[in-house]
């Protein structure tokens, strides 16, 4: 396994990271200014975004060029794989923070506010008389006003089916790639991207419906907060995943990848499966129970 041989590719000098840092600094600094009421800061954010996009394209372009020119040996490939896996693990833990908030609210804080359990014996009666503590809730202060919820077995269920199928189609694409069947590879990738976009469209529709018809918003107490943060961040990750798959589709059409050597494809596929698994958690704990 661990055979560091002389052929390990070590790039010499790179301008992309510093550019990425400047872009990040500009984007986030601009966002902070915007939040503090500086309304022209959105132009700073645009500048930051442009820098970051150029950086991403340039950086990945360089890496793809190196990869296609055969600069990477098998060991470099392993480094990339391991890197991607640990990155996905860190993403899992990012979601864990929000799931933690959801479970904490449901298991502890909401019942306490309603006067249940050791922590709530006096809290309910003294501070929030009349609060029932059922879930979903926007809290004893009725923050954001009465709201409706989205039933699990409507769009969310359809979306579950879509995402799970897209996990299947991306695997079919992978098999096709391994069999060097380029036509099928592109086709199944295309289907996967289409399913991802369909998911996003339905999700967007659902958000619009929640805001417009159900009065369910980010501001609907702790239910609205956990609901939109979890589904919203998931949606963001689906979007990233779709972009990754789209790039893979374009590269496949250009004839990139070989049956042996296609790390980037696999990384995108792993990411897609991760997005899938998070969704199943969401479906169960956010929508269903």
């Amino acid at each position: 396994m661990a055979a560091a041989n002389g052929g390990y590719y070590v790039p010499h000098g790179t301008k992309w990271p510093i550019m990425g840092s400047i872009g990040m600094f500009t984007l986030l600094g601009g966002f902070a200014m915007l939040l503090n009421g500086n309304s022209s800061a959105n132009w700073i954010m645009v500048a930051g975004t442009v820098i970051i996009v150029v950086m991403i394209i340039g950086w990945f372009g360089t890496v793809i060029g190196e990869s296609e020119s055969g600069a990477y040996n098998a060991q470099v490939d392993i480094s990339f794989r391991q890197g991607m896996l640990w990155f996905i693990l860190s993403e899992v833990l990012f979601f864990a923070a929000f799931f933690g908030a959801l479970f904490y609210a449901r298991i502890y804080s909401v019942p306490w506010l309603a006067g249940e359990g050791a922590g709530g014996m006096m809290t309910g009666p003294l501070l929030w008389p009349g609060f029932e503590g059922t879930w979903p809730t926007n809290g004893p202060g009725d923050i954001g006003g009465t709201f409706g919820t989205i039933p699990a077995f409507g769009i969310p269920f359809i979306n579950t089916v879509i995402l799970i199928s897209s996990g299947g189609t991306v695997t079919l694409a992978h098999w096709a790639l391994k069999n060097n069947d380029r036509g099928k590879l592109c086709w199944w990738l295309f289907v996967t991207v289409a399913l991802g976009l369909l998911f996003l469209a339905l999700q967007a529709y659902e958000f619009a419906y929640a805001y417009g018809d159900l009065n369910l918003t980010l501001g609907s107490g702790v239910y609205g907060s956990t609901f939109f943060m979890l589904t919203g961040f998931h949606g963001l990750h689906v979007t990233i995943g779709v972009i990754m798959l789209l790039v893979m589709l374009i590269r496949s059409m250009r004839g990139h990848f070989t049956p042996q050597n296609h790390f980037a494809f696999e990384a995108a596929a792993w990411y897609w499966h991760f997005v899938d698994v998070v969704w199943i958690g969401l479906f169960i704990f956010v929508y269903w129970f």
């Binding site: 306490w112 506010l113 922590g119 709530g120 014996m121 006096m122 809290t123 003294l126 501070l127 929030w128």
Partner: protein, 384 residues
């Protein structure tokens, strides 16, 4: 100079430092080194537990550092030591895993029983609801119907930029101390209005956070009459260090007398609200209220602190519509440090402070707000 080792030089340095410290003017002040034993049964158990664990740690330290010291003395190259080659001993490794576990268990047993006692808030004789504000305490004696607001005493506040050593109980004195009867189990229900605070009197051997929107419980049973002082113990903003607690433990009779006295004062307050006030009276009282309730944020000169607390001088609110001003002071503004003073201040005090803000610091609206206006505003609120 170069013949002295740094070690020797340092030890003379320590001697000099010690001399300096001992010669300082306050050298005779209390050189407290340890936890107070305290005046409640719990605080005494806690003290014993603290000492037990401290001595266990000291003992382990003596053994561990002792072995190391011997090694440093005897197994140094300078005395001709030859390095051995061993690097493993199953026996030693098992021993120094098992022995610490045994020690830890002996600590955990008394700790567990103590904790169970501390968490038992049942069978209280008296319940006091404590609400923390930035930066004062409100105490409501549930059974006896007494409410006390307690904030840093003016004597301490004045000394902050002058000479604290001239004041008695600097930073540990309040305007209105509370009274607990001795030998009674007092249950405290803690909450906060704005941010998290913590109620702590060391001699009572307990501390607990006061959390906005939630009630925490703790109890105490004071054995000895006396005055016990503590402080807010959770960072709560600018004046966190200026939020003392003073508890006077007194006999049941004294406690009863204090309750009666407080009730009388509350009734007087209510009577005051009935009659009409002169502007000068309102301004005088208003200044007093402003200094105690508002000046920590908006500052004595009314200029506030840029970026954190707005200036009252020339403030659009304090020179604009009266109802908006009243509403802001009574209801506060959600999500900022400006809290609702409606429940905390009496009608007279609210009338006075609003009058004051509208006519001081160069604000010249000329408005005079009568207490009756406040009670009307209150009724409006509850009615709507």
């Amino acid at each position: 100079m170069h013949r002295r080792t740094p070690g020797q030089a340092m030890s003379s340095g320590i001697a000099a430092l010690t001399a300096l410290v001992l010669a300082s003017p306050s050298a005779f002040a209390a050189w407290d080194l340890n936890l107070p034993v305290g005046v409640t049964p719990i605080s005494r158990i806690v003290y014993d537990l603290h000492m037990l664990i401290l001595w266990i740690c000291v003992a382990i330290g003596i053994v561990v550092f002792g072995v190391m010291f011997i090694s440093i003395m005897r197994h140094r190259k300078a005395v001709g030591a030859q390095a051995a080659r061993f690097h493993h001993s199953t026996f030693a490794e098992i021993a120094w895993t098992v022995i610490p576990i045994v020690i830890l268990v002996t600590m955990a047993v008394p700790a567990t029983t103590t904790l169970i006692k501390m968490e038992d808030t049942t069978d209280a004789d008296l319940t006091v609801k404590v609400t923390a504000y930035q930066w004062m305490w409100k105490y409501e004696y549930i059974e006896d119907g007494v409410t006390v607001y307690s904030t840093l005493a003016p004597s301490s506040r004045q000394a902050i930029y002058e000479d604290p050593t001239k004041v008695e109980n600097y930073l540990l004195e309040v305007d209105n101390p509370i009274v607990f009867p001795v030998d009674r189990k007092v249950r405290l229900l803690l909450t906060a209005d704005d941010v998290i605070h913590a109620w702590w009197v060391p001699e009572l051997g307990q501390k607990k956070d006061a959390i906005p929107g939630f009630i925490n419980e703790m109890w105490t049973l004071i054995k000895e009459p006396g005055v016990y002082r503590g402080q807010c113990a959770e960072l709560c903003g600018k004046d966190h260090g200026f939020m003392p607690i003073v508890v006077r433990a007194a006999s049941e009779d004294e406690y009863r007398a204090w309750v009666a006295e407080r009730k009388m004062a509350q009734a007087e307050q209510a009577a005051l609200a009935m009659h009409s006030w002169e502007k000068t009276e309102l301004m005088a009282l208003g200044e007093k209220v402003y200094v105690t309730a508002c000046a920590t944020c908006h500052q004595l000169d009314g200029d506030g602190i840029a970026g954190a607390f707005p200036s009252i001088r020339g403030s659009e609110v304090a020179t604009g519509g009266l109802q908006d001003h009243l509403k802001l002071v009574m209801d506060g503004r959600a999500g900022t440090a400006m809290r609702a003073f409606g429940a905390q201040l009496s009608d007279v005090e609210l009338a006075a402070v609003v009058t004051y803000q509208r006519n001081a610091f160069g604000n010249a609206t000329g408005d005079v707000v009568q207490p009756a206006v406040i009670s009307a505003a209150r009724n409006l609120n509850t009615g709507g």
